[in-house]
Amino acid sequence: MSTTTIEPLVLPRANGEIDNTTDDPRYRPPLVTSELSFGDVTRAVANVAERPTTTIWKVAFAIALGFLGMLGYTLYKLFFTGVGVWGNNQPASWAFDIINFVFWVGIGHAGTLISAILFLFRQNWRTGINRFAEAMTIFAVICAAMFPGVHVGRPWLAYWLFPLPNQMQMWPQFRSPLLWDVFAVSTYASVSLLFWYIGMIPDLATLRDRAKSRAAQIGYGIFALGWTGSCRHWHRYERAYLLLSALATPLVLSVHSVVSFDFATSQLPGWHTTIFPPYFVAGAVFGGFAMVLLLAIPARQFFGLKDIITLRHIENMCKVMLATGLIVGYGYSMEFFVAWYSGSHYERFTFWNRAFGPYSWAFGIMVFCNVLSPQILWSKKMRKNLWVVMAVSFFVTIGMWFERFVIIVTSLTRDFLPSSWWMYKPTDIDLMMLAGSFGLFFTLFFLFVRYLPVVAIAEVKSVMPQAHIHPDEHDERSGDEHRSDYGPDEHHRHGNGNGAH
């Protein structure tokens, strides 16, 4: 048998970027470029949290704080005046509050998808972006949870949402999708927070061990919980991470399904449809990846993380965005088809009204942003052009907000009886509250990039080629077990020594 020599892979460079997006099946392109060592990875990531505060960060943080202040003002107006400060009316008794809720909770989905589902699929490229995306998830869910909390109008009674004994001796109605939502979103928020924190413990230990000041040592030290990188600890840690992924995967799919039940179980034309759960989940992942790209592209530029968040990461995210965007487009067309095919007079009118009625401009924005704009990502050249990717992500973020606006407002304002039709128009407080929720999101995000490890340092190291044990003659294992994607847990079958229990 003749052996063919494969020339070593040389990655091309263009515009200061290393292009590791090759599809040549003979190579497994590196996930960390420039041949960084373990120490280089530590320094690159820890430097983001350790270097002195930059002016650009201060300016950006001040702007975010300004918007957060605006949110505070609108909440003050809302609590001391009542929900009348919003543009909600009859029949549009649900509007910006629920639109913003669904928008933010949807954005959160990309984080869990990257951390859990891609982990189960052994997509090692997730390690460069998962910390980012998980942080984004938590901040987005905080923004989301705020809206139903304040929508109750009397926020001091928000505890009625939970099954707590109270003076009325009544319990929540467990057969209502709105209560399912309370459980789904609060479970999602707390499990995401746990997942993020567990993943961060080893990296907090890195920052603790590098800290120069006493305050940083104590601060990071408390949250690192005394982590020493013991392999007996890593063993349980990895098993726990696998279990959390397996638990978070059905959870993330269930959350937006439950959110869609809020609409789908009602009898309103435009809402009463079985396609909602899968189409909402796809839309959530779509919008979430757009937000991850919007945050990750500037971050890798500013923080010098181009060798860790590489072009391949960006390209892969674009592919996920394109695929989920197509599912969303299919969802839109299927809704129209079923409205026509059902023969229901009201369904047909609702969708005709959606496309050509008074809110047709919003429908147009939605179709342009969510269906047309991602099509440019079919081209590999465009997926590697960061300006194009940023523009598409921006459009998708806008488009996904308008999708919820279209679904909620067009269906509510014109339902069965023309005598009860009315138009909906947001007030200034509505618009300020939406802008203010971005202030909350970015305030938290800027604090995260300033003080915490923005990339999962330990995980990135574990997917580098030098992280794997190479076989030697004394090693009695079969060659197959040395594959880099070989699961760690299979070894335990052979283990017979003293160990973890």
Binding site: W171, F183, A184, G226, W227, S230, W234, P250, H492
Partner: protein, 195 residues
């Protein structure tokens, strides 16, 4: 018992003797994954039981070299999941069908399909928190005071160095002989861990 390995006997750590630092183990440094894995096999073959490998990231295959048995964490999580499941059923049945029956749209007060989402969420919630907190508890964390962290050399474990720590309480431990073993196993430095 194996738990003593990672928690280091409290009688040793909490010793009142401040005057003379007590030797609690030996720390050997390695520069790469292959050498620490080879050394781990050597230490295991030499019959040590109270020892550990420390690394900046999980090394796949080191569990085998060290002879670590699989953790029982998944069984604990299964128990928590079943508790969440039955808790979710009981909560909804007791509140809506028994304590204060809710009659809505003439539907039965107890109908399982409508109760599945909450049952599912509670199952996941309990399992996930048991996974996270159970992992920490089995690892003996949080443990904010650890003599290992006093060593400047050891603090590189979260950066790019690999260590083997052999506990002084191990039956096979002998300072001179164990130092020699670690040096011959390829350690770039061997240090006393004192408390």
């Amino acid at each position: 018992m194996s738990t003593a390995i990672e928690t280091y006997d409290t009688e040793v750590v909490g010793s009142d003797d401040v005057e003379t630092p007590e030797l609690i183990g030996l720390l050997a440094e390695f520069n790469d994954v292959d050498s620490v894995a080879r050394a781990a096999r050597t230490v295991r073959r030499a019959g040590f039981t109270r020892w550990d490998v420390h690394s900046p990231f999980p090394i796949h295959g080191i569990d085998y070299a060290m002879g670590i048995r699989p953790t029982r964490l998944p069984w604990i999580v299964l128990g928590a999941g079943l508790t969440g499941l039955s808790g979710g059923i009981l909560l909804q049945w007791w509140t809506n069908a028994f304590d204060y029956p809710f009659f809505i749209s003439g539907k039965p007060v107890w109908s399982l399909p409508a109760n599945i989402p909450v049952i599912f969420e509670l199952t996941i919630l309990l399992s996930a928190f048991t996974t996270g907190l159970g992992m920490l508890a089995l690892n003996g964390l949080p443990r904010w005071s650890n003599p290992l962290l006093k060593s400047d050399r050891f603090r590189q474990v979260t950066d790019d160095k690999f260590f083997i720590v052999i506990d002084a309480t191990d039956k096979k431990f002998d300072e001179a002989a164990t130092t020699k073993l670690l040096q011959e196993a390829g350690a770039t430095a061997v240090e006393r861990v004192e408390d």
